[in-house]
Symmetry: C2
Subunit: 337 residues, 2 copies
DNA sequence: CTGTTAGCGCCTTCAG
DNA sequence: CTGAAGGCGCTAACAG
């Protein structure tokens, strides 16, 4: 910076003013141009570490994930967060903990030591977390997780809305006997999706039939097995809502083995919109998207909006329907009620 | 730090010595203990931004990806890189470019401005890249990509080795009529895998039969279509090596539709070991793993080993076979040669 | 409209 | 064995 000043024949201060184009302390256009030329000539770039030291803002945000490796989910959250941060001139310091509380603590400290402006916690599967107290030193927002007393603002997928949307997609196609293969019992996602399913049926004036709700576990096998059971019944459902895409893949197989076709003979809807799976199934699977990218965006947007302190304890991000080719009209009018 | 010194009754210098436990400038055990207690009491943590300014090392490494969102791949590379960096007390500054050269340039500068100690470039799909010259200011290593003149060291998956391993897995099970459904023509991965396939067959003394090599495009549909063609032949292959897992999924469907079973009637091997797909297929797919995690590790290890400058232009990371349940013994001895 | 001065928090000679 | 002084690169008061 001193070099730039020397070359332009001004003081370092003036250079600083020009670089940060501060309008308050009016620099003459001529000087300004002179400085800019010197900057260009020398290829000068300000040292952010020094800036951070002085300004107490590093233009860096810490993002802590559970387990980035396992699924594309963490990647999408990071991408969403990154895009917004980038637009504001910030970058992400990304760290992985393997849910190990000691590592989480250590990570928060490492981030804080590097003077991050804010921290985002992102979980793969929705769950309760207990971030270390130290994180409170900077604005903190939770993505896809929440604390016991709702002590930190968080954003969660609107699972109930997604369950409703999936069910309504089927309802709109004329289906009335819609089975639901749930995910793992007790999982936060499972409960929400079920609530949406039940509500949608109720709104459509369809009597609740617990026989149509089978318990799966999110694995392909359970989708396959439960679908076989369903197809073996005297009165079959005309559509199946699967608690996730992998179970839907299992369902596809059971349907094929029974000599039936999707969607001609039976309609299927998944959940998650798992990349490289839902779109690649034959026929492409209609499903509901888990808004990881959007949640990542949201978190960073709140940070830049400076609204973190005043945020409601929970914000729900919609799970939009992704219509592909696995839902068809109900055809068995003869058999249904 | 001054506070700590005051509390311990020593100068800031002494505190610094204790914190960085410098053995050269011998601090008495008593003083040392005193300082450590003060640090503990005050919850003092050194400011890395200030340290970085002084030491010219920020304990931060920049990691630039192509498109983190699309697949789990980038996530695995990040995880591998992170784990090694963490072990050395460093953190990753992660940034995404969407292959846009202007964004890539800008990102490199943002990273350099933040004084990263090194830069890693990671691509999703193996390809040629042209990183901005500016990156040379710090050690730079490429993951899953390479430059035109091999001007920067890189690590790539050993696709030929993987193609060979997949083929040998089938050969070992007794198969001799092994078809290969390739990925997109011209893709770097496709060529390497094919080379390995051809070499393995040659080594086994099996005459080359170009009729067994069908061109696919990495999408599920092509795996399905090519497999149908294969199954319609008078003399069928007893095993199929698919250029990736998605095509293997398509192959599974064609096999099922033909009333055949994997692996009883026909064996199938995939490539990529795509999470949440290969392991979830029924039967679980035997495949070859793309070593993203390992390549991420490798890159950071080189950086800490200080060997970046002396590295060979290309290093190949093995693609290990992942045996699951889709390969069985050849049963049609009657029909084969 | 521009320059001087004084740190941000830390590390590193160099004296004692 | 420990402390004082100086500076990493930058910005914010405060003068002029």
């Amino acid at each position: 910076m001193a070099d730039v000043g020397r070359l332009a024949g001004v003081s370092p201060t003036t250079v600083s003013f020009v670089i940060n184009n501060r309008t308050d302390s009016g620099i003459s256009p001529a000087t300004r141009k002179l400085v800019l030329e010197a900057v260009e000539l020398l290829g000068y770039r300000p040292n952010r570490a020094a800036q951070g030291l002085r300004r107490r803002r590093t233009q860096t945000i810490g993002l802590i994930t559970d387990q980035a490796a396992v699924s594309p989910h963490a990647g999408r959250t990071i991408a969403g967060a990154h895009d917004v941060a980038w637009k504001h001139g910030s970058l992400l310091l990304v760290a992985n903990t393997n849910k190990d509380p000691k590592v989480v603590r250590a990570t928060v400290h490492e981030l804080l030591d590097r003077q991050v402006d804010a921290i985002v916690f992102a979980a793969e599967g929705t769950r309760r977390v207990t971030p270390p107290e130290a994180a409170r030193q900077v604005p903190t927002v939770l993505v896809n997780c929440f604390t016991a007393g709702n002590t930190l603002p968080c954003v969660l997928p609107d699972e109930a809305g997604g369950g409703r949307a999936a069910t309504e997609l089927l309802l709109a196609a004329g289906h009335r006997r819609i089975a639901y293969i749930t995910g793992m019992r007790g999982a936060w996602a499972t409960r929400g999706r079920l609530r949406g399913y039940v509500a949608a049926l109720a709104d459509a004036g369809i009597a609740r039939d617990d026989g149509l709700v089978l318990v799966g576990n999110f694995r392909t096998d359970s989708g396959y097995e439960r679908t076989r059971e369903l197809l073996a019944r005297r009165v079959r459902p005309t559509a199946i809502f699967c608690g996730n895409d992998r179970m839907a893949m299992g369902a596809y197989q059971a349907v094929a083995e029974a000599g039936l076709r999707v969607p001609e003979d039976i309609s299927i809807v998944g959940y998650d919109d798992q990349e490289d799976l839902a779109a690649e199934l034959r026929p492409p699977l209609s499903t509901v998207r888990l808004p990881y990218y959007e949640m990542g965006r949201w978190a960073i947007e709140q940070i830049f909006a400076g609204t973190v302190a005043t945020l409601p304890s929970r914000t729900y991000e919609p799970c939009p329907v992704v219509s592909r080719g696995s839902v068809g009209p109900r055809l068995d009018t003869a058999v249904s009620i």
